[in-house]
């Protein structure tokens, strides 16, 4: 039967639709709370969805992923605080617009730009995923090893500019991945006789600890009274004709930038939003308005950060490499559901492409409607005290982790990783690369060892795919460092000539 019909039929189940509705509400909420990221929400929800069938489970998780990327715009525009990192750039023009009395227009524009961006990104998923997987069967252990190494080099990307600390965090993750039984001989390594550690560190527990618990602990320790007072005057809600015309060009810019950035492993909506904002500024007839409440700037960022969603899913599922941090968490669930992301997935299950795209389309439409109807309601939530939120999150983290395996050991691991995550955060080490190292380290080792078992080192060196990928990986890790050096020299020269000021509001770039 046709994979399109098979895939879409899965959505006809009312239970799946109910899951999408639940996901949309949860996603909007977590997006709207600054401090609760989409990664954290998906990590938490995944401990509950693991007991469900894959399709309804995916419906919940993917919808949270989509709708958190709508909800997070609200605090960005109204309080100048990004709800999740993906809306960092939304604050550049969203908050200035709101201060000008255009909060209503900003919220509506943002919702539509986000929806259009999501659809643009999904086109890539629908049309590129299957061709990508056609070459799938050529990916044996040697090629997979090279691909995973490429994924590991993306640590540079998720380390938020701190390359050195990012690499150290990644190395910690890799070191932790050594714990557990040897993938080829089955010998125990650092398990200390604990049966639970035979398969390695339970990574759902580790992820919930690193992202959920650590985040809450960090916020508790650094909580200050809000600097910004929420905007209460919304003005008109719909953009006028002139504003609509202004939106056209940034929509294209944003979709393009977002699709490309999204397809790059480990790069997500936060990076795409900032890059697209800068690109749209260059392309605009009114670059001077950017940062002062430009509807073009707002459209470009929100389109781009949502256009990353489809390509991120594509990279994740077709190559088995997380497209962004939410996808890193999702891979954990997929593996437990017996859906092994990687080149073979879409060869065996082409219908899954359409099921996933379908879920995301329904989720986007539903979230857009919810956004337009409930925007005013969501803004009320910004007044909730953080202490209540923290308590709820900690309880959910514990219950959720226990539910995955009925295991108290896992809860202990989660709490331990919460403390580890807190220390990392406080010392300026990003948590993303730790998770990347933990998940990809196991894959890298297993595939390398298998490749060597099958044909020795020649097995890798004689594969064109493997060799090319390894060369690209080497370039990916050395070039950014080189560029940074060249840029610093240039800047140093510029600085001596004149006092250069940067146009990016760099303060809000810091998480």
């Amino acid at each position: 039967m046709n994979p399109v019909t098979v895939g879409l039929e899965q959505l006809a189940d009312p239970f799946v639709l109910l899951c999408i509705l639940i996901g949309a509400l949860v996603g909007m909420l977590v997006g709207a709370f600054p401090g609760v990221t989409a990664t954290m929400a998906v990590a938490l929800a995944s401990s509950f969805t693991l007991t469900m069938d894959p399709v309804p489970g995916l419906a919940v998780l993917l919808t949270i992923y989509v709708s958190a990327n709508f909800g997070d715009r609200v605090p960005a525009i109204l309080v100048n605080t990004p709800g999740t990192p993906a809306s960092i750039a939304t604050t550049f023009d969203g908050y200035p617009m709101a201060k000008k009395g255009l909060a209503g227009v900003a919220l509506t524009t943002s919702a539509f730009a986000s929806a259009i961006g999501t659809f643009a990104g999904l086109l890539l998923l629908v049309f590129a995923a299957i061709p990508l997987s056609k070459i799938a069967l050529q990916f044996g252990p040697a090629e997979m090893f090279a691909l995973v190494v490429f994924g590991l080099t993306m640590m540079v990307g998720v380390s938020g500019g701190k390359i050195g600390k990012g690499l150290i965090a990644g190395a910690i993750g890799l070191a932790l991945a050594v714990i557990g039984r040897d993938p080829i001989t089955g010998t125990e390594r650092f398990t200390f006789g604990i049966l639970e550690l035979s398969d390695g560190i339970p990574f759902i527990a580790a992820i919930i600890g690193l992202f959920g618990v650590a985040d809450v602990l960090d916020q508790m320790l650094s909580h200050r009274a809000e600097k910004y007072t929420p905007i209460t005057q919304f003005g008109r809600w719909w953009p006028n004709r002139a504003e609509l015309r202004q939106m056209v060009r940034p929509l294209f810019v944003g979709s393009g930038v977002g699709a490309v950035v999204g397809a790059v492993p480990a790069a997500g909506g936060d990076i795409a939003g900032i890059m697209s904002w800068a690109a749209a500024k260059k392309a605009s007839k009114h670059p001077e308005e950017f940062g002062k409440g430009s509807i073009e700037g707002l459209t470009a960022t929100d389109t781009a950060s949502n256009a990353t969603l489809g390509p991120s899913v594509t990279t994740t599922l077709a190559l088995g490499i997380p497209g962004d941090s939410v996808m890193a968490v999702l891979i954990g669930s997929l593996i437990i559901w017996g859906i092994q992301p990687g080149p073979a997935l879409f060869t065996n299950r082409p219908d899954l492409v359409y099921t996933i795209a379908g879920i995301m389309v329904v989720a986007t439409v539903l979230t857009l409607v919810l956004s337009l109807v409930r925007l005013r309601g969501v803004t009320k939530l910004l007044e909730l005290k953080p202490a209540f939120l923290w308590t709820v999150i900690i309880v959910f983290c514990m219950v959720g982790t226990f539910a995955v395996n009925n295991s108290v050991f896992d809860v202990g691991v989660m709490l331990l990783f919460g403390l580890v995550g807190l220390v990392l955060r406080r010392t300026g080490f990003p948590a993303g690369p730790v998770v990347l190292g933990l998940i990809l380290g196991k894959l890298a080792e297993g595939n390398l060892r298998r490749a060597l078992e099958i044909g020795g080192i020649e097995n890798i060196l004689t594969s064109p795919i493997a060799v090319t990928t390894l060369i690209i990986s080497a370039a990916a890790i050395t070039l950014p460092a080189l560029f940074a050096r060249v840029k610093r020299r240039k800047l140093a020269r510029l600085n001596t000539a004149q006092q250069a000021t940067t146009s990016l509001p760099t303060d809000s770039l810091r998480k």
């Binding site: 693991l50 799938a136 044996g140 001989t185 990687g342 065996n348 900690i394 009925n406």
Partner: protein
């Protein structure tokens, strides 16, 4: 802020203590009213897998004959050792039973702190014969071809399997022993990737359960050379048993129901009866047949003999 942290830490500690204190009943006496409350069935693998499916389907069928509900509890990790170890520590009162996979007689030889004698086995419920398959365009047309190639090129004909120490890797060792060759096992991370590696000609052959190779054989992506069972299967038309091809190897996965050792006789009889009725139920056989595995019943005493024989066999195999 410090106070909040302390409160949370204290709360967490209290929760850990509470769960740790789950009490264990003392002496178990013969229970005439058995079963008078719900029974827990421990499955040492994740929900949604083949073992979980077998266990859950049987649990539903057993509920009918026991007149009590059976709660399936998945305790995963450590190749099944976490759940098996948990089961052996439960009271032998019949209210804790578990799904015993073939791994329950293999893991103790691989450094896991487990003992097959810790269980009373109540009966076998399912069997998963091993099969050996090659890519559709492989030069090896028969098992004999593959063995001849392995004889000519020792240690270089690769055979994928689902993981280090798995029953399918043990099957490779068993075949090597009988044929006097050295096929090279390559452990993957699960059965599906191992089968995919063979479809993509990354390896020369794969040894996996019949439910994993049969679908790929049906649509022409794999050629199954032999089934390591006493009888051929309808799921693989035209495929002969390894024994009939001259290689006397019969090996595969199986699943059984067991309980912590020392059940009172009456409880043991009641449970054995329920297992038998469950396996023979229409509901159970149709679900298991659909999954590609074989519903097979052996009663408690026959299965105990088989269980001990398997344990000894793997001891010898892993000593290699």
């Amino acid at each position: 802020m410090k106070n909040k942290l302390i409160t949370i830490a204290a709360g967490a500690a209290a929760l850990l203590l509470l769960t740790g204190c789950a009490n264990r009943d003392a002496a178990v006496v013969d229970d005439e009213d058995y079963p008078s409350k719900a029974i827990t069935l421990v499955v040492p693998y994740a929900a949604g897998g083949a073992s979980d499916l077998s266990a859950r389907t049987l649990a539903a069928a057993m509920e009918e004959s026991l007149g009590q509900s059976i709660i399936v509890e998945n305790r995963t990790g450590g190749a099944g050792s976490v759940g098996l170890s948990y089961l052996s520590g439960r009271p032998a009162d019949g209210y804790s039973i578990g799904y015993l996979p073939v791994e329950s007689v293999m893991l103790q030889y691989q450094g896991y702190d487990l003992d097959p004698a810790a269980y009373d086995v109540l009966g076998q419920i399912v069997s998963v014969p091993a099969t050996i398959a090659v890519p559709a365009d492989s030069p090896y047309e028969t098992l004999q071809d593959l063995v001849d190639a392995a004889e000519a090129n020792p240690d270089s004909i690769t055979v994928s399997n689902s993981g280090a120490g798995s029953i399918w890797q043990a099957a490779t060792t068993a075949l090597n022993e009988v044929a006097g060759v050295s096929l090279k096992p390559v452990p993957f991370d699960g059965g599906a990737p191992a089968v995919t590696a063979a479809i993509g000609s990354q390896v020369d052959a794969v040894i996996a359960g019949i439910s994993e190779t049969a679908p790929a054989a049906a649509d022409g992506r794999l050629r199954v050379l032999a089934i390591f069972d006493d009888e051929a299967s309808d799921a693989l038309p035209g495929v002969e048993t390894a024994k009939s091809l001259g290689f006397d190897v019969s090996i595969g996965g199986w699943g059984a129901i067991g309980a912590p050792a020392g059940l009172p006789d009456s409880v043991r009889d009641a449970l054995s009866e329920a297992v038998k009725a469950g396996v023979e139920s229409e509901e159970f056989t149709s679900v298991i047949n659909k999954s590609g595995n074989l519903p097979v019943y052996k009663n408690s005493s026959d299965f105990t003999t088989f269980f001990n024989a398997e344990s000894e066999r793997f001891g010898a195999l892993f000593a290699e």
